[in-house]
Symmetry: C2
Subunit: 217 residues, 2 copies
DNA sequence: GATAAATAACTAACCAGTCAGTTATTAAGT
DNA sequence: ACTTAATAACTGACTGGTTAGTTATTTATC
């Protein structure tokens, strides 16, 4: 009789892995349904535990939210910085790496849903929003600004208001991520190849930033 | 004695005006707190009525949501179209009018919060999302595409993948609106003048779309 | 006083957070 | 090895507060 063996329902104990399993489950559900519409029972179920277990690791739903942001994103920023440093001498290449690296490391992954999540919930959770601005948005923008400044210094890009242009250049990236996690899901979008999108964007920006022929610099 | 007149205040009957008052109240609350986190009691209170009254005009919370989108946005699209037709012969001017008109008619108003709202809730309310895509996003994009195509036809803009570029050009506009209704609220943003932002954006795009000096076309 | 508009009290369902109890794992005693 | 004790991980039923949606009643208007 194999019953005796088969009947063993697993219920594994793995204290170490739980928080990550829970934040991963929470991330995907928060992104999919929004924070308020996500039930903690569902988060727990997706992580393969009960809701009670969730509360062994996180004090509250909001604490879980913060952990999702913290664990998910902050490490990626550092990765991005390293990626760019590899091309510090070539601003055009740096810009290109920024766009495609952003997509590869962030936008195309599960984390690509975080901008949507944070945008939706910023007002409801000011502390999380401030953390996100400080640890993600500002470093990300600073990195972009460095690309621009370096291009100007090298005479490859024309002078612009780099604060504003940084903001502007982030927008199509974020838009791509937001789109994928909102309208793209429920409304069939025939052709929206991220690579082609980024290529068009890169092309547009490169020409938009080129030093003007007349006037020189 | 004016008391007799003044005292009359409490319950006004105005069947005609109610739906608009309610959708206006709902819009501001949905934008501020998100759909799920908004209480119908609060919507009713802000419109100066009770929750029961709300149900005289809308079948459900979702029906109210749809009405908010329908009544709020659709009229604005038509206004925008008319605005652009006034400059049909000058693509550069048309592009400029698009950007600043979008801001004046839409982004800077209460409606500017709708992109945030729709992005957050698209997955939870696919029917509303489809309506929004069909009635707002597609017409808005079509209008932008017309600007681009006209520019190409006139030899003012270079040839591009207009489907992708349209998407890309909408992004900084939407980003401006999203930003204002999310992070800008809880984290002090020192300088983010919409006019300067749009000016920088216009400048960037105009140069990005200019026919290339060599090659001419 | 008849009808339409609006209300406020109500219900049913839902869900974040709790906790008494269960099961797996480890340690100690024999 | 083999039982027993102690601990750590986990569970799921429960609670208390909340809210979408309903309805019996009140209030205004003609």
């Amino acid at each position: 009789m194999s019953d005796a063996v088969i009947k063993k329902a697993p219920v594994r104990r793995r204290k170490e892995a739980r928080p990550q399993e829970l934040t991963a489950a929470a991330l995907s559900l928060f992104v999919e349904k929004g924070f308020a519409a996500t039930r903690l029972d569902e988060v727990a179920a997706r992580a393969g535990v009960s809701k009670g277990t969730l509360y062994l690791y996180f004090d509250s739903k909001e604490a879980l939210f913060l952990a999702v942001i913290r664990e998910g994103i902050v490490p990626v920023i550092e990765e991005g910085r390293k990626l760019l440093e590899a091309h510090a001498d070539d601003p055009e290449r740096m810009l290109r790496e920024y766009l495609f690296g952003w997509w590869a490391l962030f936008g195309s992954t599960e984390l690509g849903g975080v901008p949507k999540l944070m945008t939706s919930e910023a007002q409801n959770f000011p502390e999380v929003a401030q953390y996100y601005v400080r640890e993600v948005i500002q470093p990300g923008k600073a990195l972009m600004r460095e690309v621009l400044d370096r291009g100007v210094a090298k005479g490859v890009f024309r002078q612009t208001n780099s604060e504003l242009v940084t903001h502007i250049l982030m927008a199509p990236l974020l838009h791509l991520a937001l789109w994928r996690h909102s309208f793209a899901v429920c409304c069939q979008v025939p052709d929206m190849d991220p690579a082609a999108y980024l290529e068009s964007f890169f092309d547009l920006v490169l020409k938009g930033l080129a030093v003007t022929p007349e006037g020189g610099k």
